[in-house]
Subunit: 314 residues, 2 copies
């Protein structure tokens, strides 16, 4: 039976059977054209990248076995997820991804076949989004199967959107469905909202943008402007099938876009333009940024909900 467990006790099938130099040669083959020739790709002390005319973006996110993926996920899905969760961060600024480097922490018992499939997932996703994989590092770490990816990007125009420019009374929009990402497999099967974010970043009425990774109830705090409070209505939340309100608010890894739009905009008009552009991606108006002390009684008390906490408090 085929298993997704990354480790093997059969040393002939493990990465240690190859050793580092041969393994790097293999990785170059697995990556194909997504890895340009050295020094523009793997094979020197650094990778050399062309000059960039516009502002650049940089983000870093890992995936760790036992934390961001487990044996319910294939190696190819894990590799794809690693790149997509970083793409989602580039999207969240209204940018386009360009180049990445990958640092692997692997136990010597990691299966060569697992790693090959992991790189297949990376390569296919890189090809899809025109990303070049230009370098990396491998370190042996007892018990580990994890990878950290740093992704560079460029701003699509002079304008990029941040988390820090929402205005009081802005409308709050969210794409897609929320909650139960882990249970539904959405956490690895999702499509980063790159095109949607590019369109959003061109709309001058949009004031702020981010992607949802730690749950709406936690993440929305990053957008709330001074002297305001986020008012979100439970009946407006786009619940994933079988998800509760709490799961839609607190579950991590939605990888959807959360953004605010000036209250001078007609939200129905905004939504109808969206629908024409992205007929298959749901867009929900879930609330607005109220001036402090003016939260309507039917708005959710978000402080009662906790999002995903990266460091478990004890």
């Amino acid at each position: 039976m085929k298993t997704n467990i990354p480790f093997t006790l059969d040393t002939k099938k493990s990465i240690s059977a190859l050793g580092e130099t041969a393994l790097i040669k293999q990785i170059k083959i697995w990556l194909g054209k997504t890895n340009p020739r050295s020094p523009f790709g793997i094979g020197d002390d650094c990778a050399v990248l062309p000059a960039s005319k516009t502002s650049q973006l940089v983000t870093v996110d890992p995936i760790i076995y036992g934390r961001h993926f487990d044996q319910s996920v294939t190696a190819e899905q894990a590799g794809s997820k690693l790149l997509k969760r970083n793409i989602s961060d580039i999207a969240a600024m209204g940018g386009k991804p360009t180049y990445c480097v990958i640092s692997l922490s692997l136990d010597s018992h990691v299966k060569l076949s697992w790693l090959k499939s992991f790189y297949t997932g990376l390569r296919k996703t890189a090809e899809k989004y025109f990303i070049l994989i230009v370098g990396g590092d491998i370190a042996e770490t007892k018990g580990a199967c994890s990878a950290t990816l740093t992704l560079l990007g460029k701003t699509a125009s002079k304008r990029f959107l941040t988390r820090h420019s929402a205005k009081p009374n802005d409308f709050i929009f969210v794409t897609g469905k929320l909650g139960l990402s882990l249970q539904s497999g959405h956490h690895y099967s999702f499509t980063p909202r790159l095109n949607e974010a590019l369109w959003i970043s061109k709309q001058t009425a949009v004031n702020s943008l981010m992607d949802l990774s730690d749950g709406l109830a936690k993440d929305i705090n990053c957008l709330v402007p001074k002297k305001a409070v986020a008012c979100i209505y439970s009946d407006k939340l786009p619940l994933r099938s079988k998800a509760s309100i709490k799961e839609a608010l607190c579950d991590g890894e939605d990888y959807e876009l959360l953004f605010t739009v000036s209250n001078k905009t007609n939200p129905e008009h905004f939504k109808s333009r969206w629908k024409k552009k992205f007929p298959n991606v749901e867009l929900s108006l879930i609330g607005h940024m109220c001036p402090q002390g003016k939260r309507p009684s039917n708005a959710l008390n978000l402080s009662a909900f906790q999002g995903y906490e990266h460091l478990s408090k004890q």
Copy 2:
């Protein structure tokens, strides 16, 4: 007694006592001016970097507790080492470091005081080399205390040096002393050869350049041109105090520069120019790239020596 062990069983003193949001706030304070305001530093989905007029460089290297440092090294030294080993890679192309992002994998029992000192080491080193620390990620990982740093750089001029342009008959030079890096503390106290590499990259007679991280005997293979073989002489090796020939050839983490110079150059003239420029940094002519089949009998048989192997063969 003060200890360098990163972990504590006293949860009040561990990073988990703070939780992620408060910890990121702390990190921003610890980094001071080396972390610019969001979105140019920590605090958004990506960091925004200015456009770059010249080619850029990118490299990634981790440090892992139990592998790249242990309790003989203070947290501040560990933080400094993480940045310096990446700076050494930027130097090895003749570049200047610019921006970095850091991804942490930490057990929830990591001491807050340890992490503070680690960031002090990072900050001081970043200040010294005019590097901005613009972003990162924290993931809780059982038993781990490791950090992966991705460093960007720029080429100082249109010229950058690679590992792939040495010519047959080139002279082989190395800076500093070799061997016993771990035993002598050199692996954390070293100064990356940034200024020296910038000077080297401006010398048109220099054909190739790299930094030594896995031991001369292994690393030199990256420079050897086709139809040539590296001829190195044991009496020319700059041994660190108490180091044997084998240790100078095989020990890792020298962080010295290895480069080749056209045989049309007068090596003594080259060395005297070096001495004028860098009176405190030793430069040794250790051999040359012989045409294949013409290795002098007194040259070392390098294939008999193994450098540092990142993946233990079993």
